[in-house]
Each structure stands twice: as C-alpha cells, then as structure tokens.
C-alpha cells in the first residue's frame, strides 16, 4: 500500500552483481513525494547509478520494488510520464539534432501533428543555436550534446524526472539552462530525482537529499526547511566605499554579537552562527549599519560533512 502523497516509492530494494559478490543496493527504502525534488548524493560506488537503473526499470532488482504513482516502473503508462537525462549519452553520429528529437517524439507516442512545433520548442528552450539543428551530431561539441540530451527530456512533457548528472560537461550558460528547466518543471508540480556530485546544485534545486553509501540510504536531509542549528551564513555586499570598509564593519558587528567570521574578503564573508535567529539578527544589524547586502544565504555545509563522516556513523 503506497503512502498518501508519495509519487516514487522504493521499497526494500536490493541489487547485487557478479552472482551476489558485489552488493550494489542493500534494502533501500525511499519515498519521494509528489512535486518534490530529491537529490541523490554519495561517494563513487555508493549505488546511485544502480538505483537509477532500477528506477528506470532497466535493471532487474534481486528483491524489493519500485513504484511510480502506485504502478510498477515497467508499465508503459509510467514510462509515458517519465523523463530521463542520462549521465553520458552516446548519440548516433549520423543523426541531426532535429532528427534526434523527432525520434524521441515518436518514441514518446506524442501526437504526430505536434512534432515540428514540439521539437522546435525543445531546441529553443535549451538555447541550441538554430544553425546547428540540421547538422550531424558527429560535429556537435560536448556541451551542445549535453543540451540536446536535456532537450530530449522536454519531449513528451514528463511528470516524473530522473536526472543523472544533468550539468556534467556544460558551460555556465548551459548550467543556467538546466536550472531554468528544473525550475519550470518544479513550478508545474513535477516530481524529480537528481543524481549529482555538484553539491551546490543539489542544495540549490532540491527539497531533500538522500545520502547513499555502500548501497544503503544513510541519511535523508531536509534542505528547504528553516535552519535551526549552527551553520555558516554567507553574506555578500556591493563594495562601494573605501577598500575593505564594509568587510571591517561586518567583522566588528559579528564580533560584538559573539559570532566567528570564518572567512572574509572585500565583498563577502562566511560567518558561523548558532542558529536561524542569530543569523537574522546579524543580517538586520549589518543592513542597519549601511552595508549594501546583496545576498545572505545559509550555507549547508552538512552535505560535505556527510561525505567526511565514517560509514555507518549516521543513522537513517
């Protein structure tokens, strides 16, 4: 029986390779709620890619199950609403960008009359230069192929997304496009799982993050709730006055409040605060002191810490 509000449910999922000698997943349980974006992180070999394989129905689990909206993943009705961005797509060299998307449009069983418009819309969304739409993929750069990889995700307007390192190989503009696409999907209530080594990306885009190690979910962190415990506050301001003026001001205000400035330069500082209230007070005082604050954000160093901790030291 699926929990109410759960869109993706992974129950007691186990998968091993080499006749059971390598345990890739060991009784993984995971629930992703409808409209939620879940980040998947963990060291290499933790089982993230295997979990993705099982989520896509391309790997046959030894035990356990994966359900999307209460249905097994290999149902065609589930595939119809699932979008996938592979980590390293291997394209047919002879295809053109336009043909590639037409192929996926046909595979998605979308209305053939919408093909031309959909393909154009997808290619435009990922900001691929129209001059290359008709060029063979063999002539595309890696960044262009990654954009095309993202464009195929848009075909068929999926409701469930599985993104495997979506920003890999992209330039800053490409990364911005990925963010834009994820946000637009988010606004339309799409459920997503993002597997990434880019922790800042995970923090930026995800509601929760699951940390995998040795085939087990070691911890699930909530990223969008209020920050209650000690954390690092990142402050950035416009440096308009004499050199270092604002920096000194921030330092002295922080000192007067009894908090530590961990790192600072002319236009930003990282301050260790005891909790959300202290952070809010510091921001208020810094603004009141006339520092033109551009950005004030809680740094969740916990993600890096997850990697630093010993295996099994954190309970789920």
């Amino acid at each position: 029986m699926q929990q109410p509000g759960v869109c993706i449910e992974v129950r007691d999922l186990s998968k091993s390779y080499k006749n059971g000698r390598v345990q890739a997943l060991d009784s993984v349980n995971l629930a992703v709620y409808a409209g939620e974006v879940l980040g998947l992180i963990g060291p290499n070999g933790a089982g993230k890619s295997t979990l993705f394989g099982c989520l896509l129905g391309l790997l046959r689990p030894d035990a356990g199950s994966v359900h999307f909206d209460g249905k097994p993943v290999d149902y065609l009705s589930v595939r119809r609403i699932t979008g996938y961005v592979p980590e390293r797509p291997d394209f047919e060299q002879w295809m053109t960008g336009r043909l590639f998307l037409e192929y996926h449009h046909m595979l998605s069983r979308c209305d053939p009359s919408t093909m031309a418009a959909t393909v154009e819309e997808c290619l435009t969304t990922v900001e691929l230069d129209p001059a290359v739409w008709g060029r063979r993929l063999g002539t595309y750069s890696r960044g262009m192929l990654q954009r095309l990889n993202l464009a195929q995700l848009l075909v068929g307007k999926p409701r469930i997304l599985l993104l495997d390192e979506p920003t890999l190989g992209l330039d800053p503009v490409g990364v911005k496009i990925v963010r834009k696409v994820i946000r637009s999907f988010r606004q339309s209530g799409v459920t997503a799982i993002i597997n990434s080594h880019q922790l800042d990306e995970i923090e930026r885009e995800c509601d929760r993050v699951a940390f995998l190690r040795q085939g087990k979910v070691e911890k699930i962190e909530n990223l969008k709730g209020s920050v209650s415990g000690p954390h690092v506050l990142f402050l950035r301001w416009t440096e308009t006055g004499s050199e270092g003026q604002h920096s000194s001001l921030v330092r002295s205000l922080a000192q007067s409040m009894g908090v530590t400035v961990q790192e600072a330069n002319r236009s930003w500082a990282r301050v260790g605060v005891a909790g959300g209230e202290q952070a809010a007070r510091l921001i208020r005082e810094v603004v009141a002191a006339g520092v033109p604050v551009e950005e004030a954000v809680a740094e969740r160093a916990r993600l890096e810490k997850l990697f630093e901790s010993e295996p099994g030291s954190q309970g789920q």
Binding site: Y17, K18, V22, S49, T50, G53, L56, G57, L58, L59, R60, L76, S77, R79, R80, T82, G83, Y84, P86, E87, R88, P89, D90, F91, E92, Q93, W94, M95, L99, F100, Y103, H104, M106, L107, S108, R109, Q152, G156, L162, D164
Partner: protein, 265 residues
C-alpha cells in the same frame, strides 16, 4: 511494431556513412563487378562469386548493417563503457523493440541483396545470358528469406550480451560459412591410399558436417526448386519458420531478462 524504431533503423542504414560505404561495396560493387569481369573475360563464375550473391552475401551485408546496433540511442557509463539504451526509458516494450528492429534490418538487408541479384541478372542479360522473371523472382524471395533468418540470429546474438553464447554463435557462424562456401564436392577426389586418403576423407567429412550444421542452424528455402518441385517442400518451410521463431523468441526473452546496465554481464 514501433514506427519510430522502424523508420530510424532504416534511416541509419542509409545515413550512416561508414555503413553505406561498406554495404555498397560488399553488397553491390564487388558482386556486380565480379559478374561483369567474369562475363567480359568469358571466364566461368567462381565460387567466391556464388558466395557473394547467395546467403553469405546476405550475411556480409548484414554484418555491416548491424554494426553499431543501428538506431539505438544509448547512454555510456563513465566507468566501464557499457551502454544503457536511452530509448527504453520511453514507452516501448522490449519485445516491440526486438521485433521492429528485426523487421527493419531484415527488410533493408533483403532489399539490398535482392537489388544486387537483380543487377547481376541485368549484367548477365547484357552479355546474352537467359534470365526469366521466375528465376529473378525466386532469387529475390530467397534473399529476403535469407535476410529474415540471418537477421533474427544476429539480433539474438547481439542482444543477449552473454559472452559464452556470443562465442558459441561466432563459432557456429564460421561453421555455417564453411558449409556455404566450400561444398563437400570441392574436396572430392579419387580414392587415395594411405595418409592422403585419410586427409581427403577427413576434409570431406568436415565440410559435410559444416554443411549439415549450417542447414540446421540457419535453414534456407531454395525457392526456385520449390517453385518447380512436384511436391511443395513443407519440411523446408517448417524448418525455416520454426528456426526463425526460435531466434526471435530467444531474442525477445533474452532482451526482456537482460539488465541494461554496466557491470552486469
């Protein structure tokens, strides 16, 4: 049957430059050129020519078409180079994939080799050979049937991704090839005494066995003979259809059971 797979597999056969060059040379230029050369020099047709224009020719064209598993978009793993077919994240059953792929490859391969047979016949007619519509039609149909069974066997082997099976299939293919290219009559000779006789008998036995194994693994239908036979060769037909179905079922079963991911061989 999936229209997207059918269309793009067929397109890959004609738009992938390497495949096109290979297929044109192996399927058309070499056999037609051989026919032309043979007739213009007034020589007898060689066994190699027979090979290129028969079921071995179909296998050669098929090898070119199947290289790169025409029409699959895949995701390459960062760790081991194994591929994960992106298309299976789309609403597509594996059985649908296999059957459509088989249809597309068999049709394209059959069409190319049928065209080759027609061109060979045309060259022959230019040099005064007698070719009837029945002979040409029988050859065209035979090439399509050859393409059908060979494509099914190729697909089953490629999609299984089981090393033992693939090694066995390669060995079986070579045995079949020997049976096709060297009929036992080639080594037939006078009854020689001693070691020479043993060698000849051994060779004959080997080629005969290859022939029999080849017929068992990849049975064909001799269409022209069937057309002119007093009794329709039902046994040939049943052997052909049942073997074809075995390969297709095996391909579907193995693809359905297979893990599409790296590190799972």
């Amino acid at each position: 049957m999936n229209r997207a797979i059918l269309k793009f597999t067929a397109m890959s056969c004609f738009l992938d430059r390497i495949k096109v060059v290979y297929v044109i040379f192996m399927g058309l230029v070499i056999p037609v050129g051989m026919k032309w050369e043979t007739l213009s020099r007034g020589a007898a047709e060689s066994q190699t020519f027979e090979m290129f224009t028969g079921s071995v020719g179909v296998a050669l064209v098929l090898t070119g078409l199947c290289l790169g598993a025409a029409g699959t978009s895949t995701s390459r793993s960062a760790y081991s180079g194994e591929c994960l077919p992106l298309i299976f994240s789309r609403p597509l059953t594996r059985a649908e994939y296999v059957v459509t792929k088989w249809c597309a490859i068999a049709l394209v391969c059959g069409a190319i080799t049928a065209l080759q047979n027609i061109l060979v016949a045309f060259v022959g007619m230019c040099f005064g050979e007698v070719w009837t519509v029945q002979i040409i039609g029988a050859q065209v149909l035979e090439r399509l049937l050859d393409a059908g069974i060979l494509s099914a066997a190729f697909l089953a082997t490629m999609l299984a991704r089981n090393r033992i099976l693939q090694v066995f299939a390669m060995a079986a293919f070579y045995v079949w090839l020997v049976g096709q290219t060297l009929p036992p009559v080639s080594v037939a000779g006078p009854n020689l005494p001693g070691l020479d006789g043993v060698q000849v008998a051994g060779g004959q036995m080997f080629f005969l066995a290859s022939h029999r194994i080849g017929d068992f693994l990849l049975p064909g239908i001799h269409v022209y003979e069937a057309m002119n036979a007093l009794n329709f060769p039902w046994i040939e037909l049943v052997c052909y259809v049942s073997t074809l179905l075995v390969y297709l079922f095996a391909a579907v079963a193995m693809t359905t059971r297979r893990d599409f991911f790296y590190g799972t061989d």
